[in-house]
Symmetry: C2
Subunit: 398 residues, 2 copies
């Protein structure tokens, strides 16, 4: 069966590499060979092993009936959306690694694929090499998913791990991550939590079977996390991790992206460096966790190739997937219950007066105190915190 790749950047070239290197294995697992016929890219790649397959006009692929499998690794919503739509409407299966596209247009593209009796898969769009999408769509289907909590951004996990292990400050670690290529020149999407937000929107859409708008998710990044916060976390025997969370709230889900303090008993506690992991709780299954490389050329391309093989095995059939276009109204974030770690220059007496119950953490920092509240709704936290004169930081607990 013949395939095409749209976008010959890091992931796209990784897909071509895996199709070359693991050719025999792929043939064995798929039952037949996957032959790469075209690569769409406006750039030239002189000397590249796939140089002769490069084309600049998307319609060459659209109009070639031999091509049944298409990979989209261009990134961004446009022109990826227009191209993917053309391919689906031409009766070609499409897999994408593009989280922006899936978060924005997933429901619609799934419908278009269904109408054209092909498949639109997107394993690589969340968690890189971690097969979390197929696990939710094809394995944990007998369970009401009560909670999904992920460490789904490698950049921020690397940074928080460095800050934890070396006691370094945010700005220094960011510079180092940029120098190593773990953070982009403009790191906003990672450090402000926007990337994690799109990913939890996709995962929530899948378990709810309905479109979740990422703009509706309360999102807080890690830019306010300091070396002092890390000291408190250590004194409390915990780690700070950027979590993307979604949990059943009545007949909908409530979602949030924010840094959280995790204790060692949590399955995500030991997920360090650039690794990602997703914790899933089902009403029958109980707790489960999926761990691996959340990004990187080959792990992400490996997920794309897994989709290619899956599409080949289902070349004549749309695999039903519930993801309605009607937007899901998420639970009010003010109703969420958490415990909160708070740093303040207020006295312990003032803290007790404001919060009643409070567990003080001694990290040996002068001129302030850190404490952990009991379980409180966000709205109650916001009320109580007003009573403290000087709040230096707040981090939720999981």
């Amino acid at each position: 069966m013949k395939a095409a790749i749209m976008g010959y950047g890091t992931i796209g070239s990784g897909v071509a590499e895996i199709l070359r290197v693991n050719k025999d294995l792929i043939k064995k697992n798929a039952g037949e060979e996957i032959e790469l016929k075209y690569i769409l890219d406006l750039r030239d790649f002189p000397g590249d092993p796939e140089e002769k397959k490069l084309v600049k006009d998307v319609d060459v692929i659209v109009k070639d009936p031999e091509v049944r499998l298409v990979v989209e690794t261009m990134g961004g919503v446009e022109p990826a959306y227009t191209f993917v739509r053309k391919m689906l409407e031409a009766g070609k299966h499409v897999t994408t690694s593009n989280k922006a596209l899936v978060a924005d247009k997933g429901a619609e593209l799934i419908r278009i694929a269904r109408e054209n009796k092909v498949n639109f898969l997107f394993e690589a769009s969340v968690g890189g090499g971690i097969p979390i999408i197929r696990t939710l769509n094809r394995s944990l289907t007998g369970d009401v998913i009560e909670e999904i909590t992920g460490i789904v951004n490698g950049t921020t996990n690397y940074m928080l791990t460095k800050m934890t292990n070396e006691g370094s400050d945010f700005d220094d670690v960011l510079k180092e991550a940029q120098a190593k290529g773990y953070a982009e020149k403009d790191p906003t999407a990672d450090i402000e939590g926007h990337d994690a937000c799109r990913k939890i929107a996709i995962l929530t859409s899948l378990v709810a079977g309905q479109q979740v708008d990422f703009n509706d998710i309360d999102t807080e990044g890690i830019t306010h996390i300091t070396a002092t916060d890390i000291k408190y976390a250590k004194a409390a025997g915990m780690k700070i991790k950027l979590l993307a969370r979604s949990a059943v709230a009545g007949d909908t889900y409530a979602a949030r992206v924010a840094p959280y303090l995790l204790s060692p008993s949590h399955p995500l506690y030991s997920v360090d460096d650039v690794f990602n992991a997703v914790f899933v709780r089902g009403n029958m299954l109980g707790d489960s966790m999926y761990y691996g490389s959340g990004a990187g050329k080959l792990p992400t391309a490996s997920a794309v190739v897994g989709d290619l093989i899956e599409m080949l095995k289902h070349a004549d059939k749309n695999i039903y997937l519930e993801w309605k276009e009607e937007k899901l109204t998420l639970g009010n974030p003010e109703d969420q219950e958490n415990r909160y770690f708070i740093r303040t220059s207020a006295s312990k007496e003032q803290v007790k007066e404001a919060f009643g119950e409070a567990e003080f953490v001694d990290a040996g920092i002068q001129g302030e105190c850190g404490f952990i509240t009991g379980l409180l709704r966000e709205r109650d936290y916001h009320e109580k915190i007003k009573k403290l004169p000087d709040v230096k930081n707040m981090i939720r607990l999981d």
Copy 2:
């Protein structure tokens, strides 16, 4: 679509329970309802909510063309094998939780399913609620799987966790596990590693695409692990875990079931109590890990229900799966390389003479010494160990 359950024990009744409790969710995810029509069991269950569905004759199910989906949760090879075969030959899809059946007859039943254009699925046969089978068969298909290492037996993991946390002896912990229902009256299959051996045989068959005979796998249980060994493990900063391992060895795999010492950096280190986990390394994906409830009524039944939904979605199609009946010749276990932890009453001088390189572990035990060798082939270990007069125990390192 109508379904039948063969075997109304713990798992079978769990499947019926999930079909009742999660009925709406299952209908949403499957695209149509799964209606339980028959339950095959020789026993009576007066007062059971499914009482009216009980039948004692397997042919009632075989001959009912309405039943397209069959669950096998009887356990053991016979009569499960005969019944499953009948169902497949009658054009019904079958899912089983029965590892003995899959390890023994997997390749043949997959072929029979293919010949009859139906599916034979077995997610629940390894790792209970952990979706490791579908992950290997349907997600990590673009990767050469270089290593699979699992904690796949909950009983022994519970026991080793207890021994580690409480310093208790093997016999006491076994009695407690039996009292709590975590270990069977006859615990042999668990504590001697036979259960783990069948599971790694199934996983190895899947990644090799060929039948692996579990009798060919070197298998060592945990009965020789003592409270003293645990003390050494702690002194070395490690934990003892029963691992079922399989790794690429030339053009085949080499497999082993044995207790291993794990350091904290290993993803399986923090898998405690009755939880299971499987670590998978792919040549493109890198390291990944899948964690969850390895046993228990509802987690295991959840995996069966996931298979039911998958079979419903593929009711008119066999999903290709490579698992040839021809037996795979495994790599020679004597060629495997490991480091070894050894306890002996020999002197440090004798140890150094025998092994050259040796890292001594001080656990404060009188009258003996414990040490860790460098990387050695099994055959070389067997040669060198002969030079030590009194060897009290040996545990491999991962």
